[in-house]
């Protein structure tokens, strides 16, 4: 086992990981429940952002509809719960499967296009999911669906316990990051990154580029579906608003802020974005006025995002 290189970005990643692990202890000692609630949300959205980073940062696929999977995962849990299927062993696999299926359909159609058209088609599909959810009058329609009971894992873990749920989310995040790390360095991952870099070249040496893109797209959608299942459990509620295009935009901002194509970037991005949102919105409801220019500065002066500023030396 080779030791990871000691540089600023790896050090920050390690410190942040340790802080995330120890957060419930801090929360318990200080009695600050709010911070645990906030960070549960952050960890879940970090997982969603990490999955977006897989296609956007590594695969070069600018999906502008990634929040759809948050909603699909969430609705799978919510609808099954409403219909009396409370077991997480049913809810979660369904959430993943439906997300994968949706990604397969969206990917198969949208990957025929590139650039702006790809962005528009993924956006269109996400908006379609949004309107379909709004039309589900049996499941709350526009008002959303309350999840009265969190997913039940036969007593193995109690999702209603704040700390246990937080650690479950954190385990999903770390597991997701590990999976993405393996994928990115695998044969498959190199092909996907190669296609991002130069599709024509990859075709010329014998790769059917779109097939690899599509599988990557489905993997990312599935991981985000898991984040959606967690999110519904976290808020005990799922509504079409989760899928609205601004939410997809938020995920993109997290990825760009943290550093596209850096494994840990989306986690940093999610933390900075959501903590800033929380802090700034205490002072002013126009917090986006501060967030906007900040993002602009990052895009203009630090293409690699925060992780890039910390001296990430190479991709992957």
């Amino acid at each position: 086992m080779k030791m990871p290189k000691l540089n600023a970005s790896n050090a920050v990643a390690a410190i942040v990981c340790a802080a995330l692990v120890l957060l419930p202890v801090y929360s318990a000692v200080t009695g600050n429940i709010f911070i645990l609630t906030l960070f549960t949300r952050i960890v879940i959205l970090a997982l969603a952002a990490a999955s977006l980073n897989l296609i956007m940062g590594y695969g070069g696929m600018m999906s502008f509809g990634h929040a759809a999977y948050l909603g699909i995962g969430g609705y799978a849990v919510g609808i099954l719960a409403a219909e009396g299927f409370g077991s997480g062993f049913i809810q979660w696999p369904v959430a993943l499967a439906v997300s994968a299926l949706f990604a397969l359909v969206v990917g198969a159609l949208s990957l025929r296009t590139r650039g702006v058209y790809f962005i528009m088609i993924t956006l269109a599909f996400a908006q379609m999911a949004y309107y379909i959810a709004s039309a589900l009058s049996r499941y709350g329609g526009d008002d959303g669906l309350t999840v009265y009971k969190r997913s039940d894992f036969a007593g193995l873990i109690n999702l209603s316990d704040r700390t246990q749920f937080y650690y479950l989310c954190l385990a999903c995040l770390f597991g997701g990051l590990y999976l993405i790390w393996r994928i990115v360095n695998s044969r498959f991952g190199l092909v996907v990154q190669g296609v991002r870099s130069n599709e024509q070249r990859m075709q010329a040496i014998g790769f059917h580029a779109n097939r690899y893109r599509l599988v990557c797209f489905v993997i990312a959608g599935t991981i985000c579906g898991l984040a959606g299942a967690l999110l519904a459990n976290n808020t005990d509620f799922v509504s079409p608003a989760v899928m609205y295009w601004t939410r997809s935009g938020d995920l993109m901002v997290m990825v760009i802020l943290g550093g596209m194509g850096s494994l840990f970037g989306p986690v940093i991005g999610a933390i900075v974005f959501l903590v800033l949102e929380e802090l700034l919105s205490q002072f002013t409801e126009y917090w986006a006025l501060i967030m906007g220019p900040l993002l602009l500065l990052i895009v203009l002066f630090a293409r690699g995002g925060i992780m890039g500023l910390l001296g990430r030396t190479h991709r992957a």
Binding site: G189, Q203, A204, I205, G206
Partner: protein, 259 residues
């Protein structure tokens, strides 16, 4: 037209490709036999790159057919042709710029080593792929530059890397689109020496502006003008060919010498 040669590796029949009103490939027929180095020359705009792109499948012809190894590949996408043993280098260097030299070559080896739906193992630790890549890099003289990111390589090195990538796919036919483009005198000489070695192992179609290189290397030369073949013969015959002299060599030769 030359007499039909036995068992051509590549056979192009009556190929036509139009762009709007322009016929870039005009009823073009061509045969490449195993083991030869077949040069394609012609003035700018003669349709050389258009032809290469149709051979590799990046561009589809309007009509006509392409047979490779006896098989009709006219409608086949480029990734499938590559798997049949057809490799190309690009006129304008086309590499994975943010990857290291060895990654570029190893990916080409990987493309021809089963499917790549392997999600877990570290591909950079697959010794046989790395070894194949290293061998191809040594071959073109880039052995010591393996770990350098492509964007940090000189133009000449990138041209050599193009060749290494094509070689790593273990092609039967190598289509080289102006491998000397933009090379200095010494770099060109190195490339010629390299191609002299390679031609012993693999059939080559060489599109090139550098006439000295072409006449030094080619077994046969096809001359294209406005998408049509005006001559196809051994170098000495081409040199003496009246129509070629008129259409091409006179003016163009002087221009090539200029840069």
């Amino acid at each position: 037209m030359p007499d039909p040669l036995p068992n051509p590796l590549l056979r192009v029949d009556n190929l036509v490709r139009r762009f709007g009103g322009i016929t870039a490939t005009d009823n073009l027929s061509l045969e490449v036999v195993p083991g030869e180095l077949h040069a394609i020359i012609g003035p700018n705009g003669a349709g050389k790159t258009t032809l290469i792109s149709q051979l590799t499948g990046q561009l589809m012809p309007n009509s006509g057919s392409i047979h490779f190894g006896g098989r009709d590949v006219t409608g086949l996408p480029s990734y499938k042709r590559s798997r049949l043993g057809l490799a190309r280098s690009f006129q304008i260097t086309s590499l994975l710029k943010d990857f290291s030299a060895i990654d570029n070559v190893a990916l080409a080896a990987q493309a021809h080593d089963g499917h790549s739906f392997r999600f877990w193992g570290n591909a950079r630790k697959e010794q046989h792929l790395r070894a194949a890549a290293r061998a191809a890099l040594e071959r073109v003289g880039l052995g010591k530059r393996a770990d350098i990111v492509v964007s940090q390589l000189s133009h000449g090195e990138q041209r050599e890397l193009e060749l290494a990538v094509a070689l790593a796919t273990r092609p039967q036919l190598l289509l080289l689109d102006e491998p000397m483009a933009g090379l200095g005198v010494t770099e060109s000489a190195r490339m010629v020496a390299l191609l002299k070695e390679l031609r012993k192992e693999v059939t080559i179609v060489l599109v090139e502006h550098d006439m000295e290189a072409v006449f030094a290397l080619a077994d046969r030369i096809t001359v294209l003008v406005y998408g049509r073949v005006i001559a196809c013969d051994v170098p000495d015959a081409i040199r003496k060919h009246d129509e070629v002299k008129r259409a091409y060599l006179g003016e163009q030769h002087a221009v090539t010498r200029h840069d």
